[in-house]
């Protein structure tokens, strides 16, 4: 009897099996699956529609100071027109679009990438505690494949959610940019893929060492919202204080969000888009390498 029984010599064997194992936990559990779709919709609906920043600048919200003599009707009309113009020019200047909802809905995509990848890292802790990790380690499957499967499943999940968000956002009244081309959607998936690979690699490297679920949970809770707000997901970087701008400039979420905005709602600036892709690409490659090397070291102790 041959020792390996004609087992595959392919170094990547098991990658899809392990990835699919993770994904099955998600798409075969209807409640979790539906919740993961509803969650971004709720956020987008409540946060995006509630923070109707544009309305602040419309004339109807402002009670004019009394003047002596009182303003005449034509003067009031003129003032109203002035405010309307001011509103769109302020919005255009700050957000590069007149519709804050469109601005924010796109930020939601980066938000989903962050949250989904963070929490998928948690499953490593379970695999450790329940002994599955040890079992996988005793099979000929490569250590790198075990980690890559985690990264890949988190990434595929986030990409699926990103697709849902785009669809829902359009239904909620997302204003697509001039010159929008359906092919741009592929670009959205590409940038999501890159950022998710990078993010989940970091989280898995953090999580793989801990035997308790509380530790990575605390780390995630500490960094997720700050990371979110120190990006352009909800507010433009150029209006932030200098020190925060510096942080935001190193935040991969900023580049991801900007790339998606360029693709969907802005009139695409190809140079900026290329720069965004370069930054996120470097981030993905660097952190995936660091994450996988660290985890690999840890697994072959």
């Amino acid at each position: 009897m041959s020792e390996t029984n004609g087992n595959s010599k392919n170094k990547l064997h098991g990658l899809w099996a392990l990835t699919n194992r993770e994904l099955k936990k998600w798409y075969k559990a209807p409640v979790i699956f539906i919740l993961s779709i509803i969650q971004p919709i709720l956020w987008m609906g409540f946060l995006g529609k509630a923070m109707n920043i544009g309305a602040i600048f419309s004339g109807s919200q402002i009670s004019l100071p009394q003047t002596n003599p009182p303003l005449t009707q034509p003067q009031l009309l003129q003032l109203e027109q002035f405010f309307a113009g001011l509103q769109s020019s302020i919005m255009q200047g700050a957000f590069n679009t007149t519709d804050y909802f469109s601005y924010m809905a796109v930020g939601m995509i980066a938000f989903t990438a962050l949250f989904t990848t963070m929490f998928s890292g948690m499953s490593v802790v379970w695999d450790r505690r329940l002994g599955f990790l040890n079992k996988a380690l005793s099979t000929p499957v490569s250590r790198a494949v075990i980690i890559s499967a985690k990264v890949l499943s988190a990434t595929l999940r986030s990409m699926f959610q990103a697709g849902i968000i785009v669809l829902v956002a359009v239904a909620f009244g997302l204003q697509l940019g001039v010159g929008f081309n359906p092919v741009n959607i592929l670009g959205v998936f590409a940038i999501m893929f890159l950022v998710c690979v990078g993010l989940s690699s970091i989280f898995i490297a953090i999580t793989i060492r801990s035997t308790r679920i509380e530790t990575p949970m605390a780390v995630v809770n500490l960094i997720n919202l700050p990371l979110m707000f120190a990006s352009n997901a909800f507010f433009p970087i150029k209006l932030m204080p200098d020190w925060l701008q510096t942080i935001a400039a190193f935040n991969p979420l900023s580049y991801t969000t900007d790339a998606v905005r360029q693709l969907l709602i802005f009139s695409t600036d190809w140079a900026t888009l290329a720069w965004d892709f370069t930054c996120v690409g470097i981030f993905a490659v660097a952190f995936a390498t660091i994450g996988i090397v660290l985890s690999w070291r840890f697994l072959s102790k």
């Binding site: 009897m1 020792e3 390996t4 029984n5 004609g6 087992n7 595959s8 010599k9 392919n10 064997h13 098991g14 899809w16 099996a17 392990l18 194992r21 099955k24 936990k25 075969k28 559990a29 379970w126 505690r129 329940l130 002994g131 599955f132 040890n134 079992k135 996988a136 380690l137 005793s138 099979t139 000929p140 499957v141 072959s300 102790k301």
Partner: protein, 333 residues
């Protein structure tokens, strides 16, 4: 064939530079035998198994499985071994069949071969009827059998079982023993198992090693070990009132005779063989034996002798561990 399938020489594992879990352990396991690792909690059983299945790297010393070095040829080792871990590692959200196929994928076994083998293994462990049920619905015994099937998917030369009957009830435990015996008979497989159930080691193992504080204190077949304690206990009574201690003492292999309450407590080696000789000797002199019992020492005495620990203490913390594991599983759902 008495080829040495597992061979450990000075195998040592030190955690965090000061905690020596396994301390220069030497042993070898022959082709086709069931080798048991027996010891109290924290003795180093699981650490040893983890080194042999290449999850942990030894700090010092070396070991080989099927002639592959566990440190240098770990990939080859992983291909020829099967592992049935202490925990229930099967995925709760997948069905029994899906779990076996997942294991097959980890070994890179082509799908058509894997399906065929999975069906065969499901039949072996009598789970064919449950193959499409989610593991969530499985009982402890079924899960254990599924683990067994998963460990066999690559047709391993050596199967490692870490506490194969931990937390199972008496009947399920006995059933699991039957599967293990069947494996040895049908596949001529070499099995390496750790256990803390002494009767389990006694029933299943061809040889056992008792390990304590990271060191092997004794290796031998359960029979040898029991005999090493100084033999069996024979209790007999005769009709007559005379003291026949001197007479019994002269019989070969008898080591010690004591008269208590009209009965004789005799310590003798090879009790089954010695007893007839004692009866013979008494009869020749015209004495009538009215009552006789032969008690063999159990591994329990052996264990106590070599580790100086009562098995019950270890047992209690084991049960606590099993209970904790159940809680964790519930917590996950």
């Amino acid at each position: 064939m008495s080829e040495e399938v597992i061979k450990a020489e000075g195998l040592t594992k030190v955690f965090n530079k000061h905690l020596t879990a396994v301390d220069h352990v030497n042993f070898s396991v022959k082709q086709g035998e069931i080798f048991g690792f027996l010891g109290p909690n924290g003795a180093g059983k699981t650490t040893t198994i983890n080194m042999l299945i290449t999850i942990l790297k030894p700090t010092e010393g070396k070991a080989s499985v099927s002639n592959f070095d566990i440190a240098k040829q770990d990939f080859n080792v992983r291909n020829v071994i099967g592992v049935v871990p202490q925990e229930y590692t099967a995925d709760e959200d997948l069905t029994g069949l899906e779990n076996i196929l997942l294991c097959a994928d980890l070994y890179g076994i082509p799908r058509n071969v894997a399906k065929e083998r999975a069906m065969e293994l499901l039949k072996l462990v009598e789970l064919t009827d449950f193959k499409d049920k989610k593991v969530q619905t499985f009982s402890g015994g079924m899960r254990r059998r599924l683990e067994l099937a998963c460990g066999l998917i690559n047709r391993p030369k050596v199967l490692f079982l870490d506490e194969p009957t931990l937390g199972l009830d008496v009947q399920t435990r006995a059933a699991t023993w039957n599967y293990i015996k069947l494996l040895k008979k049908n596949y001529g497989m070499t099995l390496f198992m750790t256990t803390h159930y002494l009767e389990e080691a006694d029933v299943l193992c061809d040889r056992v090693a008792i390990i304590d504080h990271g060191k092997i204190v004794v290796v031998g077949s359960p029979e040898e070990l029991k005999h090493s304690l100084g033999g069996d206990l024979i209790t007999l009574a005769i009709k007559e009132d005379e003291d026949v201690s001197g007479l019994i003492q002269k019989v070969e292999h008898v080591k010690e005779v004591r008269r208590e309450d009209g009965a004789y407590r005799i310590k003798a080696e090879l009790g089954e063989i010695t007893t007839p000789f004692i009866i013979e000797a008494l009869r020749k002199k015209g004495y009538t034996v009215t009552r006789l019992s032969l008690t063999e020492p159990t591994l329990n005495e052996v264990y106590l002798e070599y580790t100086g620990k009562s098995m019950r203490d270890a047992e209690e913390s084991r049960e606590a561990f099993a209970a904790q594991r159940m809680t964790m599983r519930r917590a996950r759902q």
